[in-house]
């Protein structure tokens, strides 16, 4: 049977984070914790494949104990098992240290439930915004990566080939790869389902499996958490949107306004820079 692993992260809903105008610091109080938006699209695609071909869907997450709630939500949507990797020693990890732990977790999942065919990740997280953990995990597992996937066109179980559409700046690339692969999901990939009633009932009773560093006998403690993270945040600041002096173009006469605006624009370096005649 297909074995699909979905990597999820519980994140603060960054859309709700505000900056305190007096102190210029982040106000996180009351900011809801949600499943990273793009990860839900990874989960939905795994569940869609489960519906079509039959599959085991295992969800994994690294995070604090409170992330159990996010994992239970995945169970309510239809995932079979959920694993939380949680340990203070993992705190402060950057993308390099995170991908190390996530890759170890997936290897342990394979020992327990069989080899993995596809790993799904979101294209990036809302709080980190880097998109680096997916490629990092693929590298460490030594499997091919298909990033920024907006459509899973076909999955051929006989040839073990998957064909996807990768989203690029200027178009779409069709790529075929052999399983196992890691796919990072865009929002365009699908529309995540709601939890079903049986799913909600199962999630209510379900207890995610929790692994700590002790569950990974071979873990290299120099590669995890803050210690294992090569990048350092040296400072943060709030950008001030720069206000400018607005030149108002009178608009009583629309045609004159259009001409006046163009005159202004033509008096700048725009015609030269843009190659306007």
């Amino acid at each position: 049977m297909l074995h699909l692993v979905v990597c999820i992260k519980q994140v603060p809903d960054s859309r709700e984070i505000r900056i305190d105008p007096k102190t210029n610091t982040l106000v996180r109080l009351g900011v809801p914790a949600i499943i990273n938006y793009y990860d839900l699209h990874g989960l939905e695609e795994a569940l869609r494949l489960k519906d079509e071909f039959g599959a085991r869907v295992t969800v994994v997450s690294m995070g604090p104990p409170s992330a159990e709630k996010a994992l239970k939500q995945c169970i309510s949507m239809g995932a079979d098992e959920a694993v939380l990797v949680s340990d203070r020693a993992f705190a402060g990890a950057d993308t390099l240290a995170t991908s190390y732990v996530v890759a170890l977790t997936i290897q342990k999942v394979e020992e327990r439930w069989g080899t993995v065919d596809i790993v799904f990740c979101g294209k990036q997280t809302l709080d980190g915004d880097t998109g680096q953990v997916g490629p990092g995990v693929a590298c460490r597992l030594d499997i091919d990566q298909l990033t920024y996937v907006e459509k899973l066109e076909t999955l051929d179980l006989a040839t073990r080939e998957v064909t996807v559409h990768r989203h690029l700046e200027d178009g779409v690339e069709r790529v075929k790869a052999r399983l196992p692969v890691l796919i990072t999901a865009l929002a365009e990939l699908n529309r995540p389902r709601r939890a079903s009633l049986p799913g909600i009932l199962r999630a209510a009773r379900y207890q995610p499996i929790v692994w700590t560093t002790n569950d990974f006998p071979t873990i290299d403690r120099a590669k995890i958490g803050l210690r294992g993270s090569p990048t350092i945040v040296s400072k943060t600041w709030v950008p001030e949107p720069k206000q400018v002096q607005t030149q108002w173009v009178p608009s009583e006469d629309i045609a004159a306004a259009a001409t006046a605006l163009l005159d202004h624009l033509y008096s700048t370096d725009l015609p030269q820079k843009l190659g306007w005649a």
Partner: protein
Amino acid sequence: MAEERKRKPMIGLQSDTDWSEYRGVMVVVEQRAGVAKPVSWQLLGEARRLADKLDSPLLALVIGHQVQGLAREAGYHGADRVYVCDSPELASYRTRPYSRVCLYVIREYKPEIVLMGATYAGRDLAGAIATHLPTGLTADSTQLDVDEERLLLASRPAFSEKMLATILCKQFKPQMATARAGVFEALPRDETRSAEVVMVPPQIDPEDISTQVLGFVESLERGNLEDADVIVAGGRGLGGPGAFSLLKELADALGGEVGASRAAVDLGWIGHDHQVGQTGTTVRPRLYIAVGISGAVQHVVGMQNSTYIVAINKDSEAPIFRFANYGIKGDLFQIVPALAQAVRARRSGGLSPEGVLEQVSAAGRGE
């Protein structure tokens, strides 16, 4: 990433490597069918400044098939030395073969800084390389600098663009960062410059055939906001999806693309690809025309670095005007078509100013 958090140097990842032999700033040039992405030359422009500050050579890495011309171009755009890996197997970007070439060049020639565009391909590649090396990687930088300890100071937006954070990588070389398109200025193309060219053997592995690029379909409908020089963007003030056709007309006249505020995208009036600002695209066109956009902070941070900003809005109190070089208060349904008409008339040349005025007033009257 917590605010004001200072991390102590790690013990864990320290190694005995002598990093002092790592010299030079390298830019990985991204290309499709022999045409470089603008971000590559923009990065060379900024990297030139960093290299000069470090008194190091500026290096470029060109990977692809039949890309010798790009090696010359990299020289014209500021590179001192260009590593070229040219092979039919490298015609399309694929993670494994491309990262193998990058890893070979980095290990062999030891640059102290490696930069690439924060494009889909660039982020795909950078994430793989940094993991293999291993080293630290900063995504989506919008400011780059170096300090007296030769550390790369890569600054990037954090928390949905609400903050900026400066990221360092003290323990490893090369220090890596991807950087957004449109942030940095390319150097003027100078054909008198020439770079030393070093050929690199392709690092092909039989397992590479497991991934194949079947094809690429260029999207004509989907504008490329990041590379656009001119953007005409619409917001809630458009009142519905229909008015985007007016914006398209103006954008076409100006040779630009159509953008949108989050409000317009959330209302389903236009696709997410057009969204400027928070959770959308950060843009830095030379000309940004905001039509019926009120100017929420999340939108402004995504477009404030445009060279010139024009705002058209019926509410003269709209915050967008605080960030606009030129403001027109009025009805967008009249102003936008009149502007499109005026632009077409002026760009087609030929017409006297009076003729333009006449045409424009005709348009303004809705004729």
